[in-house]
Symmetry: C2
């Protein structure tokens, strides 16, 4: 085995249904990984053990021992305290006040950085993907919700004891639909895949989307990004119209964020973008450039994310390494 | 005279109608100032000379010579390139592509920093006022428009070649009134003093605001913040209702910004706030805390700005000194 003497960094992506650990070497080559179901119902304590076991298996796969790790970075789908590494709430998993940093530092004896999964993905795109070398990268990842992240001057933009960049909760319709956050008319209520799914299953129910109806019926939970792309390709015009409308809303919402942050590049990622890159990107960008202030209109690019699912793991790993280096430097 | 041997920094506030230079010593004591009309119609070249003369007069007032200056900071009411110190556009003055940094560095032989006036005000509140010691300060200054600024980790948040934080151009009503920026339904169209003035002169015209009518008639340009406060105190209930509605909109718009930036403190300044601090602040804060995400609700304060008109001059001066120090340190 070639593992002896090597140093590694682990990037971890904790999702509501799946978790994945990837071991990177010093040149950021992927040299081992492990992926398994999250099984959130086992609870927080057993869940933290399961995370550790997944890291152990990835280390085995890489032929490395825990004492060869320089750092672990873990991206999580919920609000957290970045300093303490405590996740306040993982709403899809039912875990609260999860001491991720403390638990993993005790187990592995190396520095652990905890960050939001979308921040991790944005940092990954900044280091290795569509945002390389940019001073300010705004990442927007529409999915069930709409995640946002910003890397500004090389660091993940965050609050003092809380994560930031909740792009999905910029309000676009003051009297709009009730959002999961308790407010009305957040961007998520009109532009997320869940919002699209609501509209297309109603269209299917009305008989306006025959191809979609034949594939998934009217069950909202079965509408994935690929479902939408296939229905559009097969000729369901109403599905195309619904997707383009939602993408337009996303551009509308992002315009407000660009007016605030003046990013150099907006990176769009996630399943919707991957399934329909041309259609979706064009609809987002057209509305975005229409709405943004004239002074900013020519100051940013819009790009599709390049790293897919690996953005969160490599971003978490790179962020953990950067934080560990900064701490070591005093 | 006591000026010999002292070192100073000039803070300059360039407005559409007035300009002011203040000389600060090393302990940030105000030790001389000059203020005059801007007379923008003289044009850019003569205008730059007029700015320099105002600085000369302030230096005279402080008993200092130009070679005693460590830096000059100048806040301007328009978008600019912070690195080159070129102001793209001063819409109320008719000047374009104004080489402020180059002109003043040539004239005074010291480093000059140019920043947006609202950024200067926010930095002033961060250094000396309501935002002291905070990691992230969001400044919001409703006036004719609505200015915003953010100091994050000690630095003014900005774009690569453009200023940022256009809080007034967060869109709150997608089909709302046409904004000066060309988009519809920006926060400015419902929450600025101009929006309030439009509504109150219509109410006065309809006979619903007798006290306001007797003071300013129906001339929108005569409606100042003090006018509104006096009409409310005298019993014009419709004026109070209009102001409270506009302040609520401001809270609504700021909620989206807080969801993005997770600031530690929101500092509200400007004439409306100064004229009606209790009424206005309460209306803003109530709506803001209602709308913001639950995870962020208890993570920020809302405060009234403490420095008034001096925020921009002392902020510009302090920022220029900080930038000069950083440049000197390499």
């Amino acid at each position: 085995m070639s593992g002896k003497g090597k140093r590694g960094v682990v990037g971890f992506d904790l999702g509501g249904t799946k978790m994945m650990a990837v071991v990177y070497d010093r040149k950021w080559r992927d040299c081992g990984r492990n992926r398994r179901k999250t099984n959130a119902e086992i609870g927080m304590k057993a869940g933290l053990d399961r995370i550790a076991e997944t890291i152990d298996k990835a280390l085995d796969d890489a032929g490395m021992a825990p004492d060869q790790l320089d750092a672990i970075g873990i991206g999580v789908p919920g609000p957290l305290d970045p300093e303490r590494g405590v996740v306040y709430d993982l709403p899809n998993m039912g875990w609260k006040d999860v001491p991720v940093k403390a638990a993993l530092e005790k187990r592995f004896g190396c520095p652990v950085a905890v960050l939001n999964d979308v921040d991790a993905g944005t940092y990954g795109e900044y280091c290795f993907g569509a945002g390389q070398g940019k001073r300010c990268v705004l990442g927007v990842f529409p999915g069930t919700g709409i995640g946002g992240g910003c890397v500004y001057d090389g660091a993940v933009l965050r609050g003092q004891a809380i994560t930031a960049m909740e792009v999905g909760h910029v309000c676009v319709l003051p009297e709009g639909a009730l959002c999961g956050c308790g407010a009305h008319g957040c961007l998520e209520t009109v532009a997320s895949r869940l919002a699209i799914a609501q509209a297309v299953v109603a269209a299917a129910f009305r008989g306006e989307a025959p191809h979609l109806l034949s594939e998934v019926g009217t069950d909202l939970s079965k509408v994935r990004s690929g479902t939408l792309a296939r229905a559009i390709a097969a000729g369901d015009e109403v599905v195309e119209s619904i997707v383009v409308t939602a993408a337009g809303w996303l551009g509308h919402g992002i315009a407000s964020v660009v007016n605030l942050l003046a990013p150099d590049v907006v990176v769009l990622g996630g399943g919707l973008v991957e399934a329909m890159p041309t259609l979706y990107l064009e609809a987002v960008e057209t509305r975005l450039r229409e709405r943004v202030m004239p002074a900013l209109r020519d100051h940013f690019e819009v790009k599709v994310a390049e790293l897919g699912d690996d953005a969160a793991t490599c971003g978490a790993a790179a962020w953990a390494a950067a934080v560990a280096k900064e701490v070591a430097a005093g």
